[in-house]
């Protein structure tokens, strides 16, 4: 019982981190229909830049994070402008963007490896100490992480609902000709979408970097989890991704507890298969 409750709590925490991981994927897919196979490395880059600023220049956490996110935003825009934009105009863009981002992911992963070396890094935790409620023990750091994740999700949904750019992104996601007719600059919105998604992804990398160890290759594992989550939640659905991430975080924690960590991947795969066969539009994605 004690173990189970603790596992559930830690599942909830990793689930909320996975949620931010999945958000970047689903934002890009929802608006531009590009499936970013270089997603994991983007998160890793965000985390590494923050780590570098923190530990080499001694920049405090907040400015380091902001600097890193500013870099991610411009990086996302550049990636769209100079690679995705031309590829999307060609036939067979659906798979060529997949292969391109895959190649770019490996390229960037190895650039990270060259620059920062293979040694494991970690971003220091935000707050020390732990919270004890009966037999349940949670680190204050993890409580802080959950809080930050909640704020990010709330901020994003407010952005999509109330800002002009956010509304334009939703409009483009729902109907490109409709968006053109009301005078939305599709290219600009696509570019901003990539910038936003890279920023969110970089941020999720920073958060993951404070909980797990960081190495240049860890992004692939994060990314595949992100894939399963967005498929579960329905491609392009933000709320679906959040719910799916929490569910999968819990499943992972329970599976690790009872079967051992080695079975986590096969279980993810089987779940993924079941969802794809029963509801290719995802458990929560209502529309196709």
């Amino acid at each position: 019982m004690e173990n189970l409750v603790n596992a559930l709590v830690s599942g909830l925490i990793s689930g909320s981190l996975y949620a931010t991981m999945a958000l970047g994927l689903t934002i890009i897919y929802g608006v531009s229909r590009v499936f970013n196979f270089g997603h994991g490395v983007i998160a890793v880059i965000g985390a590494y830049i923050t780590w570098y600023l923190l530990s080499v220049f001694g920049v405090p956490f907040l400015p380091a994070t902001l600097l890193s996110l500013a870099f991610m935003a411009s990086f996302g825009w550049l990636v769209y402008r100079f690679t995705m934009s031309p590829l999307l105009k060609k036939p067979n863009w659906e798979f060529s963007t997949v292969l391109f981002m895959l190649g770019a992911g490996i390229l960037l992963e190895n650039v990270v490896l060259q620059v920062f070396g293979p040694r494991v890094k970690s971003i220091p935790v935000l707050v020390d100490g732990a919270l004890k409620v009966g037999f349940i023990q949670i680190n204050w750091h993890e409580v802080a992480l959950m809080g930050i994740v909640l704020v990010v999700i709330a901020a994003l949904s407010l952005f999509f609902k109330y800002t002009r750019t956010g509304q334009a992104m939703r409009a483009v996601a729902q109907s490109i000709p409709g968006a053109q007719v009301v005078g939305i600059n599709i290219e600009q919105i696509f570019g901003l979408t990539f910038a936003l998604a890279f920023t969110v992804t970089g941020f999720s990398g920073i958060l993951l970097g404070t909980k797990y160890y960081l190495n240049p290759h860890v992004g692939w594992e994060w990314m595949v989890k992100g894939f399963v989550i967005v498929t579960f939640g329905g491609l392009g659905s933000t709320s679906g991704a959040v719910v799916a991430a929490l569910v999968l975080g819990l499943v992972e924690a329970v599976a690790t507890l009872y079967f051992g960590a080695i079975w986590v991947w096969p279980i993810w795969f089987v779940l993924f298969l079941i969802v794809l066969l029963l509801r290719p539009q995802g458990i929560l994605g209502g529309r196709t």
């Binding site: 000709p177 007719v181 005078g183």
Partner: protein, 232 residues
């Protein structure tokens, strides 16, 4: 206000428009007739930048706009209301109308335009918080027209506004278009199958057949046989 000269337009390899020339003067209502599949919609799409023409010139308020991206054309004050509507179906009526005012010049007058839209379509005011995917065909058509009006436009191009609507709804839509013209003095270019209605409200008509302008007439000079012959 709008001058189209020698426009050639292709749908992949198929030539849809062949040297089309057309004028719309300030404050005019011009109707475009012709059998289906003969290039009416393509012409409107070419003008508003959704289907860039291959050759020819399109001048709007004296500026060349052929080949410009659609959003720049909208920013110059030209709105297109597509036959397919292309609404944002997971958004409310109000959100759709707000997005209509996306161009910068439209935002200061958003309130005024919204009032006007609700004035001509009181039904939309009642349903402002309803999702567009749950609207009836007629209501969705109203949203499409309303969204076009929100962009603070000086030329409105309407593509088959009455298509697929019940007779009562058709009347409502035509009344609204008439109102838009009378109360706002809007210049209108309309494509319509309901010839009788469109004829009544327009100053001039063009008839397109096989991608070419077959003839142009003032309303007084329209020969009904001529139109009939083109259709049958």
């Amino acid at each position: 206000m709008l001058t189209v000269r020698e426009l050639d337009c292709f749908y992949s390899d198929l030539q849809v428009l062949r040297g089309v020339s057309l004028d719309v003067g300030e404050g005019e209502v011009v109707a475009l007739f012709g059998p289906n599949g003969h290039g009416k919609s393509t012409l409107l799409k070419a003008i508003c930048g959704l289907q860039p023409p291959k050759r020819g010139s399109i001048r709007f308020k004296g500026e060349e706009i052929a080949g410009l991206p659609a959003h720049q054309i909208v920013e110059r004050g030209l709105a297109y209301i597509p036959e397919e509507r292309h609404l944002f179906s997971d958004m409310t009526v109000l959100e759709n109308l707000y997005l209509g005012a996306y161009p910068r010049h439209a935002r200061p007058v958003l309130k005024k335009n919204l009032e006007f839209v609700f004035h001509i379509f009181p039904r939309l005011a009642e349903r402002r918080h309803q999702l567009c995917s749950t609207l009836s065909g007629g209501e969705a058509r109203m949203v499409a027209i309303g969204r076009g009006l929100m962009s603070e436009t000086s030329l409105l191009m309407v593509d088959e506004p009455s298509i697929g609507l019940s007779p009562g709804m058709k009347m409502a839509v035509f009344d609204a278009i008439r109102q838009i013209h009378c109360e706002r003095g809007m210049t209108i270019l309309i494509v319509e199958q309901e010839i009788q209605h469109a004829l009544e409200m327009s100053d001039r008509i063009y008839l397109i057949k096989k991608g070419q302008i077959a003839f142009e007439r003032r309303r007084e000079e329209v020969q009904v046989d001529e139109i009939e012959r083109a259709y049958f």
